[in-house]
C-alpha cells in the first residue's frame, strides 16, 4: 500500500518526465560548476554552502519559500551538521542550476510537500562533509588530531582555544573533499527538533523580505494585460487609439493572451486598460455555465455506458457490493476553486542585448526559466532567474504563464517591464482546482467491516493542463517548437482515453482495509484550465471519502471513531494520529450545549492527519469553534512550523469548505475579488490545536496534509448538529 502510494506520487510529480520521456536528461550533464557566483577566498565545497574567510556561512536554498517554512527547515538541517547557529546563516534563494533539482520532480521546483523528505539526507550529507573538511583543515593547520577538535557554533575548539571556521577555509579548499562523513544521530540533534521562531520571521515582520513584486531594476516600466473574459479565448481585434492617448502610456502590444499596456506607472497602465476596445473569438468554454457543467457531470455519472478509466481494481472489485449486510450509496460534489495567493501574479523582466534577467517568486524556477527561453527566444545560458519570496504559492506560482506574458512584452517593447496582475486578473485567469462529481458506494459487513468500496468519479483532470504548460517550457530547447507544442497537447487524449490521471483519484480509495475495490474515473472537461491546488486531488477526495465513512458508520450503527479504527488495522500512522486526536479533543465526552464533534482522518504526501471539528449551527450558519488536529509526519525538524502548517491548512481548508466556489456563466468566471470569493477572517477563525505524534521515522510532508481532513470533519459535525448530510461543497445549510 505504501509502495503503491509512493509510486503514484512519483508518477504524479514526475509525469512531465515519464509521460513524454523527453525531459529526462535535460541539462543533466555532469558539471563541476556551482549554482552560485564564486566569492574570492571562500570555501565552496558544493552548490549549497559557501564559507567566507570572514566567517560568513551562506546557504543556497534549493526550495522556494512560500510560507511553508522550508527556508527554516532546510537551514536547520545545514546548521545541525555544519555545527553553526541557524540564525547566523545567510540564506539565499538558489537560482537555476542542475544541482538544485528536486529529486522527485526531476527538475528544479517545489511541490508535493516533498522538500524535507527528499532533502533530509542529501543536505545533511553536504553539510556534514563540509564540516569534516573544516575539521581536517583545522587539524592540519593547528597540528592536532582531528578527533580532538570540537566543532560547534561556527567555531573549532582545540585545547581550550576557539577558532572561527573562516580561519580554515583557505586550507580546506586545497585539501581533498571528504565524502560520506557520518551524520549526527537523533540523540545528538541539538537543532533538528528544536522549537524556535522561524528564521524568516524578522524580515517578514519588518517589510524587508523581498517578494517578486518588490523587484526594481533600472528604467523599469509597468505593464498590465487585458485578457479575454472567457479564459483562453483568442483576440479577434483591438483598438488602442484611445488607450495610447492616456497619460504615461508608452506602448500597447498584442501578446498571446491579450493586449498589454505599458506605462510609466502601474496606475497609469491600469487606468489606460479601460480605454482599450477589444473583441474576442468565441470558444467552446463560452457554451458552458456552472449549471450545465453540473448537469453534464450528472448525466455522465448515470450513463453506465461510459465505463471510465481504471484507477484501482482490487479483490473482487465491486462484484460483491450488493451481497453486503449494509449497502450504502451517495453522490458528492466539489466545485472549481481559485488559489487566491495574497500576492497576485507578477513578473519583472530586464533585457540587456541577448541577456534576459527575470525576477519573480516561483515554485518552479526551472519552468520559469524555460518560459523565458520558449516564449522569449533567449538562449538558455543567457537567462538568469532571480527567485524571491513567494506571497503564497499553493500550487499556483511557476507554471510559466506569468513569465510568458512578461518576457514577450519586454521583447516586443524593448523595455524593462514589471507585469502586475490585478486581483481580478488573478482570480479569473487561474489554473483552478477541478470540480468533481462522485458516486461513492460501499458494502459493510454486520461487524462493521468495509467489504467493498466502489467509486465512480466524473470531472476534469489536472495533469493534461499542467503538461500543456510544462512540456513547452521544460523540454530541451533543441527540439522544434511546433513539435513541443504538439507534444504538450497530448495530455488531453492521454488522460481522457488511456491513463487515469493519478491526481484525480488521489486519496479516494486509501487509508482503510477494503479488500474489494473498484475505482473509475470518467474524464469530462468543459475546458476551464485546471491546476495543482494545495493537496491536489486530496483536497476534494478526502471530503468524499471521509464524509462517506461517517455515513457508513452511522448506517452500521457504530461510533465513527471505532468504525474508522477497526477498518484501518493496516494503517498504523493514521491509527496513531486518530487515537491521539480523539484523546486530545475528548471524543465522546460532553460538549457545550449545541456543540457537536465531527471526525475525519486522511493520509497524504506521506503524512497522516486526523482532525476533530467542534461545530454549532445557528439557523443556516455553520460556526466552527475549534479544530483539534493530530499529525504523524515522521521526525520533526521544527515543531512550531509543523503546527503552523497544519493550522494554515485548516484555515485554508475552512475558507474552501464554507465559502470556496468558482462559478461560470457562459464561460465567464463570476468571482473577481474578495467580495465574491471571500476568505476566512480573524473573527471567524476557530481555535486550532495541533498535536504531533512522536516519531523517529523519516520526515514526511507537512505543507499540504493538514488541509484534506478539514472539510469532512466540519461536514460530519454539521450532520450531527443539524441532521443535514451536506454532500456538496461549499457546505450550505438549507
Amino acid at each position: 500500500m505504501k509502495t503503491a502510494s509512493i509510486t503514484r506520487r512519483l508518477f504524479l510529480l514526475s509525469t512531465g518526465a515519464v509521460a513524454t520521456g523527453l525531459i529526462v536528461g535535460c541539462s543533466s550533464a555532469a558539471t563541476k560548476s556551482k549554482g552560485y557566483s564564486s566569492i574570492a577566498g571562500a570555501f565552496e565545497p558544493n552548490s549549497f554552502i559557501q564559507i567566507t574567510p570572514d566567517n560568513q556561512v551562506i546557504f543556497y536554498l534549493p526550495s522556494s519559500e512560500m510560507g511553508q517554512g522550508i527556508l527554516d527547515g532546510l537551514s536547520t538541517l545545514i546548521a545541525e551538521e555544519l555545527r553553526v547557529d541557524p540564525t547566523a546563516i545567510d540564506v539565499r534563494h538558489a537560482s537555476l542550476h542542475s544541482d538544485y533539482k528536486n529529486p522527485e520532480l526531476r527538475f528544479q521546483g517545489t511541490g508535493g510537500s516533498n522538500a524535507t523528505r527528499t532533502q533530509f539526507l542529501p543536505l545533511r550529507q553536504a553539510a556534514a562533509d563540509t564540516a569534516a573538511a573544516i575539521r581536517n583543515a583545522a587539524a592540519k593547520q593547528l597540528n592536532q588530531p582531528a578527533h580532538k577538535l570540537l566543532l560547534a557554533d561556527g567555531h573549532v575548539t582545540a585545547e581550550g582555544r576557539r577558532y572561527a571556521f573562516g580561519e580554515f577555509v583557505a586550507l580546506a579548499a586545497l585539501m581533498p573533499m571528504p565524502e560520506n562523513s557520518p551524520l549526527r544521530g537523533p540523540a545528538q540533534f541539538d537543532q533538528i527538533g528544536r522549537e524556535r521562531p522561524r528564521l524568516d520571521a524578522l524580515a517578514k515582520s519588518t517589510g524587508t523580505a523581498v517578494f517578486g513584486i518588490d523587484a526594481e531594476v533600472e528604467n523599469l516600466y509597468r505593464a498590465v494585460v487585458v485578457r479575454s473574459p472567457v479564459l483562453g479565448a483568442p483576440l479577434k481585434r483591438f483598438d488602442a487609439t484611445a488607450a495610447l492617448k492616456q497619460p504615461g502610456v508608452v506602448d500597447v502590444v498584442e501578446i498571446r493572451t491579450g493586449v498589454a499596456i505599458v506605462a510609466q506607472s502601474y496606475w497609469q497602465a491600469r487606468k489606460a486598460a479601460s480605454a482599450l476596445e477589444l473583441d474576442w473569438e468565441k470558444t467552446e468554454l463560452a457554451s458552458w455555465s456552472s449549471d450545465s457543467i453540473y448537469q453534464k457531470f450528472t448525466q455522465t455519472l448515470n450513463d453506465s455506458s461510459q465505463k471510465g478509466l481504471k484507477c484501482c481494481d482490487e479483490g473482487e472489485g465491486d462484484k460483491l457490493l450488493n451481497q453486503a449486510q449494509h449497502v450504502v450509496s451517495a453522490d458528492y460534489y466539489a466545485p472549481y476553486l481559485a488559489h487566491a495567493t495574497m500576492e497576485p501574479l507578477n513578473c519583472t523582466v530586464a533585457v540587456d542585448g541577448d541577456n534576459c534577467a527575470v525576477y519573480l517568486g516561483t515554485q518552479y524556477v526551472e519552468a520559469s526559466a524555460g518560459a523565458v527561453v520558449y516564449y522569449g527566444d533567449f538562449d538558455a545560458d543567457k537567462v538568469k532567474v532571480h527567485p524571491a519570496f513567494l506571497g503564497g504559492g499553493f500550487g499556483r506560482r511557476g507554471l510559466g504563464d506569468d513569465v510568458a506574458e512578461a518576457v514577450v512584452i519586454a521583447k516586443k517593447t524593448g523595455r524593462n517591464i514589471q507585469l502586475v496582475w490585478s486581483r481580478e486578473d488573478d482570480m479569473s485567469n487561474d489554473f483552478y482546482r477541478p470540480a468533481a462529481l462522485v458516486r461513492m458506494q460501499a458494502g459493510v459487513s454486520e461487524q462493521g467491516l468495509i467489504e467493498t468500496w466502489a467509486v465512480r468519479r466524473v470531472g476534469p483532470n489536472v495533469l493534461d493542463h499542467i503538461l500543456d504548460q510544462w512540456v513547452d517550457v521544460l523540454a530541451p530547447d533543441y527540439l522544434n517548437k511546433g513539435f513541443v507544442d504538439w507534444l504538450s497537447k497530448l495530455g488531453r487524449p492521454l488522460f481522457k482515453r488511456f491513463i487515469a490521471d493519478p491526481s484525480s483519484a488521489d486519496g479516494i480509495f486509501s487509508d482503510y482495509d477494503m479488500p474489494n475495490k473498484a475505482v473509475r474515473h470518467v474524464a469530462q472537461d468543459p475546458g476551464l484550465r485546471t491546476g495543482l491546488w494545495r493537496s491536489v486531488g486530496h483536497s476534494s477526495n478526502a471530503f468524499f471519502k471521509e464524509s462517506f465513512i461517517d455515513e457508513l458508520a452511522q448506517r452500521a450503527g457504530i461510533d465513527e471513531l471505532q468504525f474508522r479504527l477497526v477498518n484501518m488495522k493496516n494503517n498504523p500512522r493514521l491509527t496513531e494520529a486518530t487515537e491521539l486526536v480523539a484523546a486530545k479533543a475528548g471524543w465522546g465526552k460532553a460538549l457545550p450545549e449545541g456543540h457537536f464533534h465531527g471526525l475525519a482522518a486522511h493520509s497524504s504526501f506521506g503524512s497522516a492527519v486526523a482532525q476533530i471539528a467542534e461545530v454549532s449551527v445557528e439557523g443556516t450558519k455553520i460556526v466552527v469553534h475549534k479544530v483539534t488536529a493530530a499529525i504523524h509526519c515522521g521526525l520533526v525538524v521544527n515543531p512550531g512550523i509543523v503546527r503552523d502548517a497544519v493550522e494554515g491548512g485548516i484555515i485554508f481548508g475552512l475558507t474552501a469548505a464554507l465559502h470556496g466556489e468558482i462559478t461560470l456563466v457562459d464561460g465567464v468566471i463570476q468571482q473577481s475579488n474578495f467580495h465574491s470569493y471571500p476568505m476566512l477572517r480573524m473573527a471567524d477563525a476557530p481555535k486550532v490545536e495541533v498535536h504531533i505524534v512522536e516519531s523517529q521515522e523519516h520526515p514526511e510532508g507537512v505543507g499540504e496534509p493538514g488541509l484534506p481532513p478539514l472539510a469532512p470533519a466540519v461536514a460530519n459535525a454539521v450532520f450531527k448538529a443539524s441532521g443535514q448530510r451536506l454532500r456538496d461543497l461549499p457546505l450550505r445549510l438549507s
Binding site: 510560507g67 521562531p197 522561524r198 520571521a201 517589510g207 506607472s265 500576492e343 494554515g648 475579488n673 474578495f674
Partner: protein
C-alpha cells in the same frame, strides 16, 4: 504638488492626483514593505497609518493625503530597532508567506495607539479588514496581546538622559 509626511520626513510628489498612495510609496519612494493585494480595500495588505488611523492605501488617492502624516511599515520599526509589536511578531513566529504581515502590523499598531489593552473582540474588529491566506490569525492575536503588554509596561517608564555623561536614566513614571 502634494506635500505630506512619510515616516516623519516631509516629502513632496508631483503625480496624477488620483494615484493611490500605495503605488506612490512603493514605486515612487521605493518603500516596498506595503503590499498590493486586491486594489479595492478588501484585504488590508496595503494598510498604512494616515494621521494615526489604519487606512487601505490601494484606494486612497494621493491628493487626499495633502498635509497628512503617513506611517508605513518602514516607519514602524526596523530590523535593528523593532517596534514592540514587531518584536512580538518575531517571538511568536507569526509570518508564514509574510505577504500580508506589513498590513497586519499597521492595523495592529493603529489599534494599540487607541486601545492599549484590547480584548479579543476589540482585536477581531480592528483586524477584520486584514486577510491572511496562510491562516496566521491565532498567532497574530497572541502577538498583539503580548506586544500590547510590553507597550503598557514601557509607557510607564520614562527614559531621560544625564546631560553630563549622556547615559540613559530610566525612572518609573509617577502615575
Amino acid at each position: 504638488m502634494i506635500n505630506f509626511q512619510l515616516n516623519n520626513t516631509s516629502v513632496q510628489v508631483d503625480i496624477d492626483p488620483d494615484t493611490p498612495l500605495l503605488w506612490v510609496v512603493r514605486d515612487h519612494f521605493k518603500l516596498k514593505g506595503s503590499k498590493f493585494g486586491c486594489g479595492v480595500g478588501l484585504c488590508g495588505a496595503c494598510t498604512m497609518q494616515v494621521n494615526g488611523e489604519a487606512v487601505r492605501t490601494c484606494t486612497l488617492p494621493i491628493a487626499a493625503v495633502q498635509g497628512a502624516a503617513i506611517i508605513s511599515i518602514e516607519g514602524l520599526g526596523t530590523p535593528d530597532n523593532l517596534h514592540p509589536l514587531q518584536q512580538a511578531w518575531v517571538e511568536h513566529s507569526v509570518p508564514q508567506c509574510g505577504y500580508c504581515q506589513s498590513g497586519q502590523l499597521m492595523s495592529a499598531s493603529a489599534l494599540l495607539q487607541k486601545n492599549p489593552n484590547p480584548t479579543d473582540d476589540d482585536i477581531d474588529v480592528a483586524m477584520n479588514g486584514n486577510i491572511c491566506r496562510c491562516g496566521t490569525y491565532s498567532k497574530i492575536k497572541s502577538a498583539i496581546k503580548s506586544g500590547a503588554e510590553v507597550m503598557r509596561t514601557q509607557e510607564s517608564i520614562v527614559e531621560t538622559f544625564d546631560p553630563v555623561s549622556g547615559k540613559s536614566i530610566v525612572k518609573e513614571a509617577s502615575s
